[in-house]
Symmetry: C2
């Protein structure tokens, strides 16, 4: 029904001129097609409530700029003249980068959300920032050289397993990598000649879920992700990513919920991340390593009382955290990803009961708790999304690059 994450125009406090109007409407149309991959022009007119002729004009401009494609032969859906389908041009691409503890993944992702090419390189343990930047630049260059000549490059979006100042493109405290303050965005930009956007991995995954996953159609989402390194999160408020002043918002894993002295990865005691750990589950199940599906299966199969107790404890704690989020954000949906979805599968009834018990009457009623949808490509798609953000916000003003023009 409602479309989400549509472009908020510029939610700033300056006056708007006719140009802003045009930018907004172009942005709106492009964003709508982007989210739905393909739409008819009449759908666009209906959803935007703009005049047919206006939509035609907007679509024409976006097509001219190479952002949209119109099908020649429209297929009929019912009575009346069939409408042309408009789809996003997947030749408009962004480079999505995922930095993890010991590897880097880079992908070219089309505006239609399709992964066009993907490479991966192992960085080794605790690599230096400049080494990682080098590897990223190499991977980007090699993918770039293989792109279609007509491609248009929007930029690079990078997912970071730690804190990021999104305003300045600076890293802070990536404990998993042992990095302190690093000017990552400008470093990557210098080596590639492309604009770079950074984002926290939780935030980025949340965006991906909103646009293409279990969060579609929702405007108020709490997303909690459990990975090997800890628990991250992201929050969508009124269709918009919650960023905070510097982009540090959404650290749901470091929410303190207990008097326990056990510390999380950031050294904070009694937090959700400190108490609900993937490792503990693996230990109890005598698993060395497992992906989330294997973990879920192992949990469901296990007859061990110890495992049972552990899971109940973790579920109860997760329930408390969810309740806190519900009281604070009054969201439409809470999405659980990573091993937290294994906990959901283990005993969703208990989890929901616990979450409800801690929520206030009003807020908890309509809340839906769900598993996230997107799998391995999640972060890459999300990273591409933040790279596309500028283009989507101002389709006419955003400068796209060719695959050839290096630097």
């Amino acid at each position: 029904m409602n479309e989400i994450a549509l472009p908020t125009l510029r939610a700033n406090r300056v006056g708007s001129s006719r140009e802003d109007l045009r930018i907004h409407n172009l942005s709106l149309v492009l964003s709508l097609v982007h989210k739905n991959v393909s739409l008819s022009r009449s759908d666009l007119a209906a959803q935007t409530r703009l005049n047919r002729s206006t939509v035609s004009d907007l679509v024409a401009e976006l097509s001219e700029r190479g952002l949209l494609l119109e099908t020649e032969r429209p297929q009929a859906t019912g009575v009346g003249r069939p409408s042309h389908m408009v789809s996003v041009n997947n030749r408009v691409v962004a480079f999505a980068v995922e930095i993890t503890t010991y590897a880097v993944r880079v992908a070219a992702v089309g505006l239609a959300g399709k992964v066009i090419d993907r490479r991966r390189a192992v960085t080794g343990l605790l690599p230096s920032p400049s080494r990682v930047v080098e590897i990223i630049a190499e991977l980007v260059a090699s993918i770039r050289s293989g792109l279609d000549k007509n491609s248009l490059i929007a930029g690079i979006g990078v997912s970071i397993p730690g804190q990021v100042n999104e305003q300045t493109g600076t890293l802070r405290m990536v404990t998993m990598l042992g990095w302190g303050e690093v000017e990552l965005a400008s470093m990557i930009s210098a080596k590639t000649g492309l604009p770079v956007s950074l984002g926290n991995d939780g935030t980025i995954s949340c965006v991906a879920e909103r646009d293409f996953g279990a969060g579609r159609g929702f405007n108020d989402i709490v997303y909690i992700f459990g990975g090997a390194g800890g628990i991250g999160g992201g929050v969508i408020v009124g269709g918009q990513m919650l960023r905070g002043t510097a982009g540090f918002a959404g650290e749901l894993g470091h929410m303190r919920i207990s008097d326990s002295k056990i510390e999380d990865s950031a050294g904070l005691p009694g937090t959700l991340e400190a108490l609900v750990k993937r490792e503990d589950l693996l230990d109890a199940l005598h698993l060395d390593d497992a992906d989330d599906d294997e973990l879920t299966r192992a949990i469901l199969k296990s007859k061990s009382l110890r495992v049972r107790k552990l899971i109940e404890r973790q579920i109860d704690l997760l329930g408390i955290a969810i309740a806190n989020c519900v009281n604070i954000f009054n969201p439409e949906v809470v999405l659980l990803a990573g091993f937290l979805s294994s906990l959901f599968d283990a005993d969703d009834y208990r989890l929901l009961a616990k979450a409800r018990a801690g929520g206030l009457a009003g807020a908890r009623e309509r809340v839906v708790v769900r598993k996230a949808e997107l799998g391995a490509n999640l972060v890459l798609v999300g990273a591409a999304e933040i790279a596309f953000a500028g283009l989507l916000a101002d389709p006419a003003g955003f400068k796209l690059r060719s695959p050839k023009s290096i630097k």
Copy 2:
């Protein structure tokens, strides 16, 4: 329900036409003058980045509608032709209603933020909703009859010490009054013939602080209020009130931060509200009743070890809650109101240290913790703000009423 403060244009997902443009710019100008009480036309042009002639035109339309006033004799500020001052017309009024446990306050508040008239009636303990509505209607009517004939009435804004569905104007769970689900907005509207907006008291106070108090100039605010009935809160994200799906968001007091079994007013254990209580302070200080200033003085004067310990415990818990908020919202400022500001005064150093200790590196750095500013009129001003919201959002389309036309 509606937005207050600066009008973020319509952050909606439909296309914009020229009319929307006009609405936005009118809204912007009116909101700016409203926030600053008085501004010169050149200031307006500078701040909105609109053309001088456009600002003139907008101001002229708003003046014609009786919303703004222009001074005849501009006073010079420097070189150049002096600019006309534009101020908000305080004859445009809203009725602000504050419902508390045993009394109702109603005020007429001008668009300039001045309280024009104010009445109060004691309701007795646990009055029925319809009784309270009756009292409100009477107070509104009596104030209304005394208003200047040229007044323009925007509507009624009501502050509720409990949960409110702002979308539907329905109350839920006002434990302090023993009320369940009540269609309060339509009840009041039926008796007064005026549009009614409801808001949670925490939310409303937060809005008032943002617009006229310690939150001026900030876009990301966490507000925590400690009253006799418990702890409420409000959050401003990117200049906008955090509302959630149904308007239940911002219940910071019910955030669970401990394993303690002590329950808060909603029956939730281990929450901030359960553990940090005004009552406990009064008890320890052997005070029967005291306002916040008296409380602060008593705290600072007290030499009792028991009091000292209690305060330290409360401060530490409040610090944890603040840290959680900082990690979740990455705000620019955290405002403490009510008896929480007494705790701040008691030992701000300890409180800040505790809050910092629980915050993540990035988010905690620039956070400022402050006492809220506005006093007794806070809630009334805030309630008026939510009544003005519709007018500020669409100055040309909003229907104002005369004092005479009853019903």
